[in-house]
Amino acid sequence: MRSSLNALAYRLAPQLIALVVILLLNFITSPQFFNVVVQNGRLYGSLIDVLNRGAPVALLAIGMTLVIATKGIDLSVGAVIAICGAVAASSIVAGGSVSYTIFLTLAIGLACGVWNGFLVAVLNIQPIIATLVLMVAGRGIAQLITEGAILTFNNDGLTFFGSGSMALLPMPVVIWLLVGLLVILLVRRTALGMLIEAVGINRRASTLSGIQTPVLLMAVYMLSGLCASIAGIIVAADIKGADANNAGLWLELDAILAVVVGGNSLLGGRFSILGSLIGAMIIQAVNTGILSSGFPPEFNLIIKAVIIIVILVIQSPAVQSLAVFASRRQGVMEQPK
């Protein structure tokens, strides 16, 4: 157990170091960054903001990690957030109970996943283009539900998921930590993780070994849809309204970025959900840091780009192996394929 913990720490070292460095940078540009106080029964401070605001991307990253592990990609998650937010808001506005609303929303998220999974696993359409369909149409569907307006609601039960708190932590943080933990247990305490990795590395060989590849792919996209729907609830609950136009806009890119910053390969195979979650926090730390630094907004993108490039360069296999074999020249072509 201890040795596997060590191995985990070793594997995630670059991500953890990057996170710490970003947080320190934030501290330098805005010294109040590490102040955390208890207020209104919950922790309050920039650091908590990072955890809290990072919730949607963290949730998306959980599903996205598994999708990417199967050599796929899910571009539709941003749109699914919008759809699910709209569904939740309109259900509550129409007088549905909170539990019914949550149930309905999660079901819709799953349905979106089924659609994507069907295109990828059954119709064999390339994932990026298969999910592009829902990415484009999904936002339209969300707007159809809200008729283009921001559908506001005032239901304490539902807003609890956005601004409530539990055990001193904001609800969104509790939710993503919980979902993350559950999914990690789900894939690592069962054989699911290994089977997903096998499919991502060599789909044909996996099928020949008896893995039910289509079912697995379907499940992975469904999980991604589910994670997006949870994120959708949080995003809507946060502003007490469903903004079909902007909810989750471009979040798919952040989620993919989180997965990669978390040390996962876009080519599928080996994955670490924990890494992706740390990746999501790194990205949110950068975003929050930019906001609290007080730089003019024109520079936001450049700062973000530079930081991401630096993090990725440090993590890149080439630079890492350079660091490990400081002087010895390494084989350029390691895989005899």
């Binding site: 805005s30 109040q32 102040n35 207020q39 209104n40 309050y44 401070g45 920039s46 903001d49 605001r53 707007q143 008729e147 283009g148 307006a149 921001i150 506001t152 601004s163 995003v235 946060d238 502003i239 007490k240 309204g241 903004d243 136009n245 902007n246 909810a247 929050t288 906001l291 609290s292 007080g294 003019p296 907004p297 024109e298 936001n300």
Partner: protein, 297 residues
Amino acid sequence: GGLTVGFSQIGSESGWRAAETTVTKEQAKKRGIDLKFADAQQKQENQIKALRSFIAQGVDAILIAPVVETGWDDVLKEAKEAKIPVILLDRTIKAPDDLYLTAVTSDLVHEGKVAGDFLVKTVGDKKCNVVELQGTTGSSPAIARKKGFEEALAGHDNLKIVRSQTGDFTRTKGKEVMESFLKAENGGKDICALYAHNDDMAVGAIQAIKEAGLKPGKDILVVSIDAVPDIFKAMSEGESNATVELTPNMSGPAFDALDAYLKDKKAPPKWIQTESKLYTPADDPMKVYEEKKGQGY
């Protein structure tokens, strides 16, 4: 009757714009105009495509809400050659003014100035740190509303913009950015007023202020622009202090001008300016809210 008019809308990125679309469709219906609607999904190239395609279809007139100020000369020339009058809605462009019939817009800089003037008047001589939530970086309302606001503040050294960051015109970002402002400015105790480039960001920011344990509208004054229904709700609860109206009914005056032009060949003025009305809690916000609710915001 029997006119066919093409309407190139920017998209549906905000509740205000959805309302503008709804109102325009209603106005067209009322006048028996066949409205060809094209949504450009925030892309100029799509708007140009739509205009070209309207010209190819031979519509009688074109309405366009231009996504950006520049880049319309060529396609407007084509419209002119095809003798199709073009009317600009809610935003102006940088182009020779013989290329379009008229522009029905509010004065974006003026809106910012109205908001700024309100704040100057309300604050009086007190020292006041203002935080600003900008619109999408580079968008013309963001640039103009910032400019107008700064003009109003010029010469009043007690008012100072201490932080200014983009909130992308959205509630979520408005809330997130406001949260970071509050933390950076001593838990919000150093902030006396918030100026948001639109109401949606203000609504998000109001929640952030409340969650930080402060009272929006009292501890931190809230001024914003657009006058969407939800801000009136906030106003009725004392959480917002003022909003500047940007009417979604740009098409009404536009169709009027078009009618006059087509019937009597009477060229309208080049700029039909809509009113930038200031609303405060004194204006019976709940009544306005009820009025506006049905307009498709």
